[in-house]
């Protein structure tokens, strides 16, 4: 879906958006725009989250009980919805982090049997 020819951004790996959102919110409540900016900044502009994916994902996580929202006034002086991790969300984040590191390990072993842990183009995924 993200087809910006100008940037060499990486497409979001399927299923990782939820984890990234949860991870970002670990630092405290944040509104949607802030979450998108945080993911972008922390990935050195390599990952860009489309609003069209971000907001449905946020609502999905709320529906599942991992996030909750509250309204507050943003730095733009306007009401904005701030998302916040719930206890269940924290547990889920821990689970996803485990799973993710297992996956990276497994894929890394296949792609670089010599345990080239960093520097390769494929390791970022």
């Amino acid at each position: 879906m993200a087809k910006h020819p100008d940037a060499q951004r990486l497409d979001m790996l399927h299923g990782t958006l939820d984890m990234l959102i949860l991870r970002t919110l670990q630092w405290g409540p944040q509104h949607g725009h802030g979450i998108g900016q945080a993911i972008r900044a922390q990935s050195d502009d390599l990952l860009k989250v489309e609003t069209g994916s971000l907001y449905p994902a946020l609502h999905r996580l709320v529906k599942r009980g991992w996030l909750k929202w509250e309204w507050d006034v943003s730095e733009a002086n306007q009401r904005a919805k701030y998302y916040k991790l719930t206890a269940a969300g924290k547990a889920q984040l821990a689970r996803e982090q485990d799973r993710w590191s297992q996956l990276v390990n497994a894929i890394g072993r296949i792609m670089s049997p010599a345990r080239a842990a960093s520097g390769g183009p494929g390791s970022k995924e």
Binding site: H33, G52, P56, E75, Q78, A80, K81
Partner: protein, 895 residues
């Protein structure tokens, strides 16, 4: 938690504001920042929709897809209104008929009775197959034997039907049918009063006060549910009784009576004959299973005791009579006469449904062949197999749903008709109303039909692209080299494949086959009815008016009754327009069964073989001139006269078959006969003074019956008055009634009807049978005609080009007409053959379950076949005419 639309909008606005602020802070121009932020956000509406869809339950999407398909189906069906209407009406008929019959079947056969613990309530019957007596009831000594010996039945209830001349409870004196019961009856039946009390053990015995309970139907219809009726005194014949209560609505069994009274109201029940005579049977017996006892255990015990009783009293149970005892649950007993007829109706309704479905399948198949192009293009554009099937399913759901709604709507009036009809066989049908099961049945049938129909048409999908390509290719080829392929879609060309053609014809044949079965069945019933209605009865049917003038109204018997008859006869005979008047004892057919199967007698010079029992003859009473009034010819000797009275010589008149069988030498006249039944005491030889023609007053199908007549005057009993009218018989009714009332003010005069109308009344179940079945057959025929016409019309329109070519090369239009007609007739002929074969096979299967199954005779079968062939010709005429009038140029150009 689910956010509203405002919430979503505000969240998006908040996002945009932040995004714009960021950009301005980075130094962008505010206007440009705003545009950039909006651009970056992408499609606002889409994002909002996908946010909203997160909160929707999962089934929502499936329903939405189906709703889309259904909207599409409705739109495309609206373009084919004729087809849609035909399908909906056809299905509605099939579904409505089934739903109606099913709710009656449910109400009559499956619903529990209102009686307390009705599954423990049993009905006990004594029958004598050897005497063709299916219900010989019980006598009081027999019941007492059971009461003292049986352990598996905790209590017995007894019920006997009598007629009382009732005075009181409004209006003039009239005859009522009443039950006479012992004190345990209502407790055994497990019924409650809606008003007052029912009868109990204190009402038993000769010293109790007369007490009567009104049935709910009588109380609510004849007395307008008047609560003050309790405590009123009524005259029942010579006795009186107090109304003590009203019975709750319940199935009246064994007889639909108006009142139920205790034993003391009926002098006969207290008499020695009733109490001590083992063969004087007139009581129906009910029982309640003892706690822990099963029906089988009770059956075994009762049968054993019954066998013991038979051995103890051989004189009351002749070997030839082969007296048997049977136990059934009351519910099953009540339903049993209706079971066969209802199951037959259910089968007929199912057949109509099959016909309706195959007709609809035909129409749908034809339609889908026309749509083959459309489907192929949709498949080529990426519609999957499932999506195409769903399109078809949506369409058949719309059609069948509409059909079901209409069907359930017509089920309501149908239930009323069928229930009134079934009430002739089971009293329970009176209470049947449309119940929710109709909706379930209708809906279920519609769903079944919808799914079936969705799978009838062949789909292009599995080879979607290849099929579409080949279809487009074929289209282009038929259009000629240069034509654009797309035109074929608009042209709606139809290509009928041999497979489709076969299927269409198969469905049409099925319809004809099933219609044939129904038509032949209806024909059989009609033939029976016509036979019954036109059978010669030996009576003067039109001009003879029959009245009931029950004798015991005032408790007067004997000589006074005879005087009354004589006076009434004399004065009615003087009325203008009366050709003749006489008293008798038996209105033909209307009184059938009320005198039992006959009385044993013997005659001069007749020697019976060893072990043979005395012959049985019907005992009838006749006043002078009765035979003349009824139109029954006197073959020899003389009629009774006023001098044949109890003090003079005992005489009798016999029917021709008695004379022939008992007096083979032709010397019946002046011979003697005597009753040998112990009921008549010491045999008295009666001189035979006359021989009359045979008439059958028990059954409208006249069979020679042995009947022996005794003079009314010598018995002092009659109860039926016959008037031979010169003109309109019914015009005499008020005058006759007035004359009788002048003589005896308390005398009921009832049920005036000509013999012709009595027969019509007796035949009404047969007429209803024939009517209902004919209605089914008519519906089936109509559907089949539509089916055959549809198939041929389709086949003709698909072969327009062929006919064009034929005409172009010189075929005569008449030949084409004949060709299409013969196709229709061929379908009908194959269908009839299949129907005949299948019908006979079905009948032989049914015979295994129902014992004897009547097969239609030659005339109904040939008639049904002729009707179907005729219908097929009519159905083929329109398509055939169209085929012969094909415009050659148009036909050749159209492809």
């Amino acid at each position: 938690m689910r956010p509203g639309d405002d919430d979503l909008d505000e969240e998006i606005r908040g996002h945009l504001a932040l995004s714009i602020k960021d950009r301005i802070e980075r130094g962008e121009d505010p206007a440009a920042a705003r545009l950039a932020a909006l651009k970056e956000f992408g499609n606002l509406t889409l994002t909002r929709d996908s946010m909203r869809s997160v909160w929707r339950p999962r089934w929502f999407d499936a329903v939405e897809a189906l709703a889309r398909d259904i909207r599409f189906a409705v739109r495309s069906l609206l373009r084919a209104k004729g087809l849609a209407a035909t399908v909906v009406v056809t299905l509605a008929l099939g579904i409505g008929a089934n739903a109606a019959i099913f709710s009656v079947v449910r109400g009559v056969l499956l619903r529990p009775l209102v009686n307390r613990d009705e599954d423990r309530l049993i009905y006990i019957r004594q029958s004598a197959p050897g005497l063709a007596a299916s219900n010989m009831t019980f006598s009081v000594p027999e019941i007492n034997d059971f009461k003292s010996r049986v352990t598996t039945i905790s209590a017995f209830g007894d019920f006997s039907t009598v007629e009382f001349a009732m005075i009181g409870l409004g209006g003039e004196p009239r005859m009522v049918k009443a039950g006479v019961v012992g004190g345990s009856f209502f407790d055994v039946m497990g019924l409650r009063p809606v008003l007052g009390r029912l009868l109990n053990a204190k009402d038993d015995g000769p010293d109790a006060a007369g007490a009567a309970v009104l049935t709910y139907r009588f109380w609510s219809t004849s007395l307008d549910s008047d609560p003050t009726v309790i405590g009123k005194t009524i005259r029942l014949g010579p006795r009186t009784a107090t109304v003590v209560g009203v019975l709750e609505p319940s199935v009246p069994y064994p007889a639909d009576t108006e009142i139920i009274a205790n034993v003391v109201t009926s002098p006969h029940h207290l008499g020695a004959t009733m109490v001590t005579m083992r063969t004087h049977r007139m009581t129906e017996l009910f029982g309640r299973l003892a706690p822990g006892a099963t029906l089988d255990a009770a059956r075994a015990e009762l049968t054993a005791i019954h066998d013991a009783i038979k051995t103890e009293h051989p004189e009351a149970y002749s070997a030839k009579a082969n007296v048997q005892i049977t136990l059934t649950r009351l519910r099953d007993q009540i339903a049993s006469p209706a079971r066969t007829i209802l199951l037959v109706l259910l089968a007929a309704a199912a057949v109509v449904f099959v016909i309706a479905c195959s007709n609809v399948a035909n129409l749908i198949l034809a339609r889908s062949v026309r749509r083959e192009g459309e489907l192929a293009v949709r498949a080529a554009l990426g519609a999957g197999y499932g999506a195409l099937r769903r399109t078809l399913l949506a369409e058949s759901l719309v059609l069948c749903g509409a059909g079901a709604v209409l069907g359930v709507a017509i089920a309501r009036p149908l239930v009323a008709i069928v229930a009134r009809y079934a009430a002739r066989f089971s009293i329970r049908a009176l209470a049947v109303t449309v119940d929710p099961s109709v909706l379930w049945v209708g809906g279920g049938l519609a769903m079944a039909a919808a799914v079936l129909l969705a799978y009838v048409p062949r789909l292009p999908s599995p080879y979607a692209s290849a099929f579409a390509t080949s279809w487009l290719w074929r289209t282009r080829r038929s259009l000629g080299a240069g034509g654009p392929a797309g035109l074929g879609l608009a042209g709606g060309s139809v290509r009928i494949t041999p497979g489709t053609n076969r299927r269409l014809r198969a469905f049409a044949t099925i319809q004809i086959a099933f219609s044939f079965v129904l038509l032949a069945g209806a024909g059989m019933l009609l033939a029976t009815l016509i036979t019954l209605q036109t059978a010669s009865t030996g009576y003067n049917m039109r001009q003879v008016l029959a009245f009931d003038i029950p004798p015991s109204a005032t408790g007067v018997t004997g000589a006074k009754v005879v005087d009354f008859y004589q006076e009434a006869t004399r004065r009615i005979g003087q009325l203008p327009g009366v050709d003749g008047v006489a008293v008798g004892s038996f209105v033909p057919w209307r009184d059938a069964g009320t005198f039992g199967s006959g009385v044993r007698f013997s005659a001069d010079g007749y020697k019976r073989a060893d072990g043979e029992e005395d012959p049985i003859a019907r005992l009838r009473l006749a006043a002078p001139r009765l035979f003349g009034v009824l139109g029954v010819p006197l073959l020899a000797g003389r009629d009774f006269t006023d001098d044949d009275r109890d003090s003079s010589e005992p005489v009798s008149i016999v029917s021709q078959s008695v004379a022939q069988r008992q007096f083979p030498n032709g010397d019946a006249l002046n011979g003697h006969m005597w009753w040998t039944d112990p009921y008549f005491g010491k045999p008295v030889p009666r001189r035979i003074v006359g021989v009359v023609a045979d008439v059958d007053d028990e059954s409208v199908i006249g069979r020679p019956a042995m009947a022996i007549y005794m003079p009314v005057r010598s018995v002092g009993f009659g109860g039926r008055l016959f008037v031979h009218a010169a003109g309109d018989p019914y015009a005499l009714v008020p005058a006759v009634r007035r004359v009788i009332r002048e003589i005896s003010a308390d005398q009921p005069v009832e049920r005036a009807a000509t013999l012709e109308d009595v027969r019509a009344e007796v035949l009404s179940p047969e007429r209803l049978n024939a009517f209902v079945f004919s209605a089914f057959a008519g519906i089936a025929l109509l559907i089949a005609v539509v089916g055959v016409a549809g198939v041929l019309a389709f086949s003709v329109s698909a072969r327009t080009r062929e006919f064009g070519v034929r005409l172009a090369v010189g075929a005569a239009p008449r030949r084409l007409l004949a060709r299409v007609l013969s196709e229709g007739v061929l379908i009908a002929a194959i269908g009839i053959a299949a129907g005949a074969g299948g019908g006979y096979a079905l009948a032989s299967v049914a015979a295994k379950f129902f014992g004897h199954v009547e097969l239609p005779g030659t005339v109904p079968v040939i008639g049904a076949a002729a009707v179907l062939i005729g219908a097929a010709v009519i159905a083929s005429l329109m398509p055939a005419a169209r085929a012969s009038r094909v415009d050659v140029l148009q036909a050749l150009r159209s492809e």
